[in-house]
Amino acid sequence: MSFKGYAGKILYVDLSRGKYWTQNIREDLIKAYVGGSGLAAYLLWNLVNESTHPLSPENPLIVATGPTTGTLAPSSGRFTLVSKSPLTGIWAESHAGGFLGPQLKYAGYDVLVITGRSDKPVSIIIDDDDVQFYDSTSLWGLNTRDTVNEIKGRLGKDYHVMCIGPAGERLVKFSSVMVDYYRAFGRTGLGAVMGSKRLKAVAIRGTKDVEVYDPGKYVEILDEILWINKEGPWALPAQLSLGRYGTPCLVTAMNAIGRLPTKNHWTGFWEEADKISGEALLRYRVARGSCFSCMIMCKHVTKVDSGKYEGAISGGPEYESVVALGSNLLISNIEAIIYMNSLCNLYGLDTISTGKVISFIFECYEKGLVTKDELGGLEALWGNEEAAIELIKMIAERRGIGDILAEGVRKAAEAIGRDSWKYALHVKGLEVSAQDPRAHKSVGCTWAISVRGADHLRSLTTVDELGYREIAAERFGADKVNDVCDRLTEKYKGLIVKDQEDLFALVDSLILCKYGTMWPPMYYFDFIAKILPPLTGIKEFGDVKYLRLTAERIANLKRCFNLREGVGRESETLPSRFTDEPMPTGPSKGHTCNLDPMLREYYEYRGWDYATGLPYEDTLIRLGLDYVAIELKKRYKLPRSFDG
């Protein structure tokens, strides 16, 4: 490949046959999809169709890096896993930080595609051009920390490892893939995809160079990045919040605006929030850490030194975990939260889904929809940390009610029946994350349209949440500032969510962290246009218009993937809790989320038909997605155009 910044190769591994081979990446694909989750979207579209079962050998697990991976681009240590989700049956995408992603690039591959199913537990060991399969029967059943230690002990410390724990082995539908001990591919149940392939771990060591097209120019940009992170206007705010506390700094801030999910999202305000705040966690901090090539450095390690949970140690807990396992369950004992977080990480469970599944069963118990007997004698009362801890174990081991909960909240509600669906908070089968659309209206649109289900990381906007007027004026026009910056109005939220979804489609293809792009809002399309040409040598990437079109192409492709699976407009809804139950307490009291106007606006800006939820043929052709248009047409899922 003539482009720099890329390794230029895809490594394919077929576990059924124990074979591997490489393929050069076509340059036109790089120009059209950049890399990361964009390129992975193209690959997944072609590798599966609606008849592929997520846990079948045919469903690929795609590990992808982007052009900035392994370079000094800001917060570029992340990489992505893409597949079809066993939890939702649709597009699955999860990102993790740590140090493994860059190793894949240094080993000489941009992308790793794993298909097939091994007869017995196996691990893939990649050492540059050498790919080996290690019998991992002895590792099967080990928790994630022991697995990483075992592999590093055997191969050497310079290998970086991603692996599943017992939850992934048992195909828990929201099991995670853990990286370098504490970083997690949490969402959409990719641990179960690995489990179904009997793939315990992937360990990689790379020694090759990542080259840059114009090093002289790139140095100038690096100096600018350094200035932004050291002395720029966002440097101090970022260091005093994310740097100092990690993501839990958000607990206090979210409570202050009534957006802290509490009691299975019943409300957005909790009187006891201070007990689980970033400040409260600071006491347990044993080390400050970061991901590869990051100047924000929000990853910390916490440990409990005494008492009932003595010895519990883990990275995090992150904001999402603190909420899911804390305020969401009315558990205010921060030591219990640290313990539960470490337990989830060791079993390999997504803390968000785990917390929301437990709060679901707590609420079902409160409403008399399940009995103590059905819960195996557990008093599933709000704030009962012992019950929550036991439920985590039951889910990971698929014992008793845990076997039902392990299928995710949507399936669990189907099994429990009656009114329980009201308390199953999910969109498209993915449990909701730690925001509240009643207190931050655009979150409603973000959740509803998110290609992987209720989730903040596909398009969460902070411009409205925090009222950044200058940025809003710059991006959306001075006339819209008042409405854009009002988190409690639905107006223009379809527009800003579409804009952010496009930005993230690009960010997830580079791959950069959401910190730096979501908050602080330091890097936007213009920055990406500045950094990519000297890195890659692709001059088209220097044109913001071209980048926006590329971003739209990627976002549309992912949405079309779900359409082909039969999941479209009818699934873009919110749980009734957010649309019908006014916020009962706190600063956002009385608010509900009116999704419809936001969705209507979003569809208009997307160039999709609101009534049917389908893209217009014109839209797909304009984006160069002709091959997608052909497939959708075959399935009668493509209106011609607005006028046609």
């Binding site: 001990y181 050291k230 044993v286 991901c291």
Partner: protein, 132 residues
């Protein structure tokens, strides 16, 4: 022999293991990104998120006399390899008491403190790296 005691040191209480120092080192010297081609090597324990050690030339000068062609000299406290003279025999690598001279493209390669203003120091946002 010029100024004594010019060398890099890293504070384990401040280092977060981001490896930006290794990246900027390889990029400034070789115009490529590769932590394994950095003159400064970080040994980080990711389980405890703690710096366990690092290896970088202490500018002690033991290698100066080991060089059969006189390509290494100590100027102003900094030990420098003259690549015009270096024949790549790697005698210096085997003589280095701390194993801080690496081999990149068959040539010895070590920290020269970027001529006095090390980029790793500049790029460490936390200020964990210093010249002492």
């Amino acid at each position: 022999m010029g100024v004594q005691g010019k060398r890099l040191t890293i504070d384990p209480n401040l280092c977060t293991g981001c490896l930006i120092c290794e990246l900027i080192c390889s990029f400034s010297k070789l115009r490529k990104f590769n932590p394994l081609k950095s003159a400064l090597r970080i040994e980080f324990n990711y389980e405890l998120s703690r710096l366990e050690g690092f290896n970088v030339c202490s500018q002690c000068g033991t290698c100066v006399t080991s060089c059969p062609v006189g390509a290494i000299s100590k100027i102003d406290g900094i030990v420098i390899i003259d690549y015009d003279k270096c024949v790549g025999c790697l005698a210096c690598v085997s003589r280095c008491p701390t194993g801080s001279i690496y081999v990149v493209d068959n040539k010895p390669y070590k920290c020269d403190l970027c001529g006095g203003t090390p980029l790793c120091v500049k790029y460490c946002v936390r200020g964990a790296i210093n010249v002492v």
